[in-house]
Amino acid sequence: MSQDCCASEGNIMILSCSGGSNVGQLANQAAVELTQEGFGKMYCLAGIGAHLNGFVQSAKDVPDLIVIDGCSMGCGKGIMEQSEVLLKNYLVLTDIGIEKNKNFNLTRDDIEKVKQAVRDILRKQNKAAS
């Protein structure tokens, strides 16, 4: 939670699958960096998966959110469905041309590609809403 009471920044919740592959960790790293850059706020997908009330309610009440899954297994998406949280925005990293493997030496190019894809999805959505 933000140290600043009722802060207006970070109204976009970023949830990454953070799984045990390059794409899971790319999702995680992109979520970390987008949070550090003030684009949104990374939040705990595991807390939602565990059906912890405060986490689930936070995801239901946040104005906007994006789930970043590494691959088409769709674990993050599945957690949202099981927790009955609306999947407002969704990105699968293998869908944007990143091949899944077990190489955890992430490249700067791939991280930037994921961050840009997240920004593009939310920009497109905001444009559609206005």
Binding site: C5, C6, N53
Partner: protein, 77 residues
């Protein structure tokens, strides 16, 4: 006795939610304890992403928004 906790560190929105909680209790006609929780560690223990947040009997009901007294009243039935 039911208990409402208003989570927040004392900003205008937190105070507004606290007032709405008091109004909800009045509307309900029930005896309900209403507490302000301003300690950051206690607030974080609920797992909420932002404040203000409203908790009824230990269950988080609203996060980052200010429900109206009528809505809160339904949660303390």
């Amino acid at each position: 006795m039911k208990k409402i906790e208003v989570l927040g560190m004392g900003c205008a929105n937190c105070n507004k939610l606290y007032q709405n909680a008091l109004a909800a209790v009045k509307l309900s006609g029930r005896e309900v304890e209403v507490a302000k929780i301003e300690d950051i560690q206690k607030i974080m223990s609920y797992g909420v992403m932002s404040t203000p947040a409203l908790v009824v009997d230990g269950v988080v009901k609203a996060v980052g928004k200010i429900p109206k007294p009528e809505e809160i009243k339904e949660w303390i039935k």
